[in-house]
């Protein structure tokens, strides 16, 4: 048997504690921006979507790298072609996914009468730019985490998902308010 609950808790707790401190930091940004959110409730619908897509793509990339490293078809080399392919495909998938979802959210927001203060084109632009920026960060973090943890003899499966989603969540909220600011929306 290679897994034991004590080991899972012992390995998991420190990283999760660190994670939740960063997440609470992200939560404090939301609390601080509460006025923008009340003004533009579409933000409240969007940020879980932006964060979860980036988290998913980063985690799948990480899980693929982890399996590749475990089995041996990916080598511990930043020039590894297999790893590069995985990286670029993540970017492509991210772009398409954000584009499609931004339209769905906007349509929903029209139904909920939440679109008075933002035009479709602006919303798509804000959403996709935030998303692609985030995917870049998340994919780089994913590769670094998988490689470093594997090199240090830690199981990348335990490390990648928490690190990627946490950094993704914080940066997602930061990028979203940053891009909203550039477009002059919700302030």
């Amino acid at each position: 048997m290679i897994y034991s609950w004590k080991k899972i808790v012992k390995h998991g707790l420190p990283l999760l504690s660190l994670t939740l401190i960063i997440e609470i930091f992200a939560g404090q940004i939301l609390q601080g921006k509460q006025e923008s959110i009340i003004l533009l409730p579409i933000i409240l619908i969007s940020f879980p979507v932006i964060n979860s897509v980036a988290g998913n793509i980063g985690s799948v990339l990480g899980a693929r790298l982890a399996s590749g490293l475990h089995v041996g078809y990916i080598s511990l080399d930043f020039k590894d072609k297999e790893m590069h392919n995985n990286f670029y495909i993540s970017l492509l998938i991210g772009f398409i996914t954000y584009f499609v979802l931004s339209i769905v959210i906007y349509l929903l927001a029209i139904l909920g009468n939440l679109t008075e203060d933002i035009a479709l084109i602006n919303f798509i632009a804000i959403f996709v730019i935030t998303g692609v920026l985030l995917i870049c960060v998340v994919s780089i973090v994913s590769v670094l985490t998988a490689f470093i943890s594997f090199k240090k003899g830690l199981d990348p499966d335990d490390m990648v998902a928490p690190i990627v989603t946490t950094i993704g969540d914080l940066m997602g909220i930061v990028f979203l308010f940053f891009i909203l600011g550039i477009f002059g929306v919700g302030i």
Binding site: L16, L20, A26, G27, I45, V53, I93, D157, P162
Partner: protein, 184 residues
């Protein structure tokens, strides 16, 4: 090499998961009044959702590697390896819910927002434990289906768990906040 295969297996799932996240976001949107009435709650929400997702996806990711290493498969799913993973996930969820409550309260106080600590921690604990129980059962269901369909668990479990996890966790937070707001 298998770029097309990867896009084919992943893209529909990512979009589907994104639609799930829209459900999560819309639920959060419906909570806008509750968020104003319970200061500190919005601070804890990203943490609760993320931790729930982290525990589930790490679980799914470990099962993916266990599958690649040949430790579990369709005919040998319910074994000791899986049980240890389940117990570990549930204990982690409980511990982490308490820590989130304390940190959300303390950090708010530092920033001059004064939540009701009893209310806040109770909401987080109830939401955390109920969502952990629901999600652990669901994880096993998803793993079973993934095997049955012959997919590579690495491409599927993470996003599927994270998405269903987020919706269920969000609904648990909503319900728990309504409940605690009504009682306390």
């Amino acid at each position: 090499m298998y770029a097309r295969e990867m896009v084919k297996q992943s893209l529909p799932l990512f979009i589907f998961c994104g639609l799930g996240a829209i459900v999560t976001g819309s639920t959060l949107g419906l909570m806008i009044d509750l968020l104003q009435e319970i200061p500190g709650l919005i601070v804890a929400i990203p943490a609760i959702i993320a931790i729930r997702g982290n525990i589930s996806t790490a679980f799914g990711s470990r099962l993916g590697s266990a599958y690649h290493l040949g430790l579990i498969d369709q005919d040998n799913l319910w074994n000791e390896e899986l049980k240890e993973n389940i117990i570990g996930s549930i204990i982690l969820s409980f511990l982490v819910a308490i820590i989130i409550g304390l940190f959300a309260y303390a950090s708010s106080v530092i920033l001059n927002v004064y939540p009701n600590p009893l209310k806040l921690i109770t909401i987080i604990l109830i939401a955390g434990i109920i969502s952990a129980l629901i999600l652990t059962s669901m994880t096993i269901g998803i793993i079973y289906l993934v095997f049955k369909r012959g997919f590579d668990p690495d491409n599927v479990t993470g996003p599927a768990l994270a998405t269903f996890g987020d919706i269920i966790t969000m609904l648990c937070i909503f319900a728990s906040a309504l409940l605690v707001e009504a009682i306390l």
